[in-house]
């Protein structure tokens, strides 16, 4: 009897029509697959979500008290009516937003290297650059949501709503998009280094540190010595912050925002081909050395 069951089972299997697809999936379907998977993995660490919200409140409180202690007194903040909290709110929201794009890709690549899943993902019939971008999708979107929450809590819980009244939201959204695109390209460059050198993410670390030091995240660029100011212009963050603060705090017009928008666009045009080339070379080296699946 058991033998008959076994044969029935095998027969049922063999009768299956060839229904599976053997073509590369559409971009939209790949996006949905990665987003769903990463969201499910993230959701499985439930306590992490609580820590994230608590971290946002802790940062906002720190900025709020800093604003009360030092706001208004500094001549460097006169453009912003001495509103340090509003100024720093945009700066820190910016670092939250770009964090996922800048270091999220490299972090995901490294995680997969350690779990051994990188080879499995690159064995799929999907272009490698698309796969790497898909790996960046969830951390980038999560960072964007966190930055949005940061701004919303800052505005409505900590009283920055008045500073943001009259904001040019459309321009801010465009600048945020270009900022993410430029930082994502830097993130892909960083992931290329991780593909080759494995441990360590020197590019993201260097860029993160330089951005914090030179781009005016928590203090205006005007505070910097004149010798350092030209260096700050080499970072996309400086232009992004100028644009975001202009659009959100100063209600700047499109004309006034043309320069930061143009510079960010240039960064994107210059960085993306370089990122794609570096990724291609890094992947080729990893495939040649057989190190794609090595931790």
């Amino acid at each position: 009897m058991a033998r008959v069951d076994e044969e029935d089972r095998v027969d049922a299997m063999a009768e299956t029509p060839r229904i599976a697809a053997t073509f590369a999936p559409s971009l939209l379907r790949t996006c949905a697959a990665f987003l769903r998977r990463d969201a499910l993995i993230d959701a499985s660490y439930r306590a992490n979500w609580i820590f994230r919200v608590v971290a946002i409140f802790f940062s906002l409180w720190s900025l709020f008290f800093l604003g009360r202690a030092f706001g208004g007194a500094s001549p460097f903040l006169s453009r912003f009516d001495g509103d340090y909290f509003g100024f720093a709110l945009i700066g820190v929201a910016f670092t939250v937003m770009t964090g996922g794009a800048l270091s999220g890709v490299a972090r995901r690549v490294r995680e997969l290297q350690l779990l051994g899943g990188l080879e499995a993902i690159f064995a799929a019939p999907v272009a490698p650059i698309r796969l790497v971008l898909m790996l960046a999708l969830y951390p980038s979107l999560l960072s964007l949501v966190q930055a949005g929450l940061f701004l919303c809590f800052g505005a409505w819980v900590f009283g920055a709503a008045a500073s943001l009244a009259g904001a040019n939201l459309l321009a801010a959204a465009l600048i945020a998009f270009l900022t993410l695109a430029a930082h994502l390209a830097l993130g892909v460059l960083s992931a290329s280094l991780v593909l080759v050198f494995k441990r360590g993410d020197p590019l993201a670390w260097l860029l993160g540190s330089l951005t914090y030091l030179l781009s005016g995240v928590v203090y205006p660029v005007e505070v910097l010595p004149s010798a350092l100011r030209p260096l700050s212009l080499l970072l996309p963050a400086t232009h992004a912050l100028e644009g975001l603060r202009g659009a959100l705090l100063l209600s700047a017009t499109w004309g006034a925002l043309a320069r930061p928008i143009g510079v960010l666009l240039l960064f994107c045009v210059a960085l993306w081909p370089a990122a794609a080339l570096c990724l291609r070379l890094a992947l080729k080296k990893a495939l040649r050395d057989g190190s794609l699946g090595q931790p």
Binding site: E6, R9, V10, D11, A12, M13, A14, E15, T16, R18, I19, A20, A21, T22, F23, A24, P25, S26, R29, T30, A32, A33, F34, R36, R37, L40, I41, S44, Y45, L115, G116, G117, E119, A120, I121, F122, A123, A124, P125, V126, A127, K284, L287, R288, D289, G290, L292, G293
Partner: protein, 251 residues
Amino acid sequence: MTPALRIEALHKSFPLPRSLRAVLRAPLRRESRVALDGCTLTIARGEKVALIGPNGAGKTTLARVVCGTALRDSGVALLDELDVAELAAHAHVALARPDDPALHPRLTAIEALRFHARLYGLATVTLERALAPSLEALDAHDLLRRRVATLSAGEKAKISLCKALLGQPSLLILDELSRVLDPKMAERVRALLDARCAQVGLAVLLITHDLDEARRCHRVLVMAQGRVIATGNWSEVRAAAHALFGLTDTD
């Protein structure tokens, strides 16, 4: 009829790590370890072939080259007449292994399978239909709602095999899958594969150290030092295999 897999004079070597002193002495010199040294083989559609050989013979490297996760140095490697390095060839081959890293430990088995299906262009409705026969044959329905991290090695192997068969590949590579399966499940897997070979022309490359398992295949390839040294049915390669592993006829 075109073979599912055709490999000719395949060479692959991996660079060896060098000490700082050695790099400083001769920066341009490269040292490497040969993994595949002129490997040649063919697998026809519907054929189940065992690949046996001692540790370090190049079996897994061969699988990685065919799956497109390692680049060959030279030689020919064609899957359905498509070069294995081409992206399109990736959809024609699937790999199943006991501790499959493609199955993320934090996902449930069905979530992991769904992700894999979408990555290979399958719609959700198609997934259910494509999955049903394998689940039925392997009695794996109850595993779907469980998190991968909680599955035993044998259960993971079953899900890995279901995953590999989802995309209906031309060539299925099993990397030592049978070592974690109980005898009853090993028999079921054999029956499943034999049926697929016979009915849809699936080609199977079974990498194994289990000579009894190898004996049941249509053909056995004996590999040593990066090349195939004997091929044929078990009785034809038995002498070569026994010599390689230092076995006697009574073993």
